[in-house]
Amino acid sequence: MDTVIVTGASRGLGRFCADQLHSRGYRVVGLGRTPPEDAPYESREVDVSDSASVAKALKDLRRDKSVYALINAAGIASMNLVVTTPPETVKRIIETNLLGTIFCCQQVAPAMIKRGSGRIINFSTLGVPLAIKGEAIYIASKAGVEGFTRVFARELAPHGITVNAIAPGPIETALIAKVPKDKVDAVVAQQIIQRQGTPEDVWNIVSMLLSPESSMVSGQTLHVGGA
């Protein structure tokens, strides 16, 4: 049975993807700062922004050839103007979104290299191409994820591993729960497909990237809704 590691599995898109994967027969290892007690799959407590915490949580999987995929869905956001964003908030967003993605990739990739195949799916945001005002720090962290994705894809290509990023617009999750509706509508209006995306829309792309037929898709950022 193939193992898929999902970060940010406590809630939001990470939880949705983890549930979908579990229902489709994958062994799911969900990672989160506060692992859900009701999850029907294995959950582990981890702070992805701490490389030692990631290494400890995934130590047993580093050599496990059943590890097929890593989905880096852990992420935090904070809408604020750059000049009014506290430095600690800047640091926390970059550490969780960018460093967290890198640390998890570093820890999991060796298992996939030994296996000779694998899928890594990172999460960016439609905000990168749309340059949404008030999200500069969040977008900076995600632009970093996109750059990392492109380069890491090249490094892992010889080992049969693809690395891609999914960039959703505003999806109805806890991440944007406090964002006013008019702000959400304004972003949706800039998408090519002017409909607010759903977790199912994101899952459909995750599912496509996980399939063996997607072995020639790597280093790409797929924009949910289009930009």
Binding site: R63, Q106, P110, I113, K114, E155, P158, H159
Partner: protein, 96 residues
Amino acid sequence: MPVEYEEIESFIREEVAQLTGQPAGSITENTVLVGTGRVVDSADLVMLLLAVEDFARDKMNAHFDWSSDSAMSEARSVLRSVGSLSKHLSQLSPDA
């Protein structure tokens, strides 16, 4: 029982030979692993490091941290050559 340096170097030479397709006899302690004149490409180097990590754990009960700053700094890298990597491994302390 501690693993002798010769056994470590022999293991690394055989791994490099296997990865490069070169005869084991042509791989020496001076064979370059990173930088100018290297015999392994980046993909093979990763495979070598994974094998060495396993060797350190299984044979020496030691942890080989190949993502450390010192390991990956080319100027003083333990990965320069078969010999420097073998020496680094031989100096690892067993895990508590």
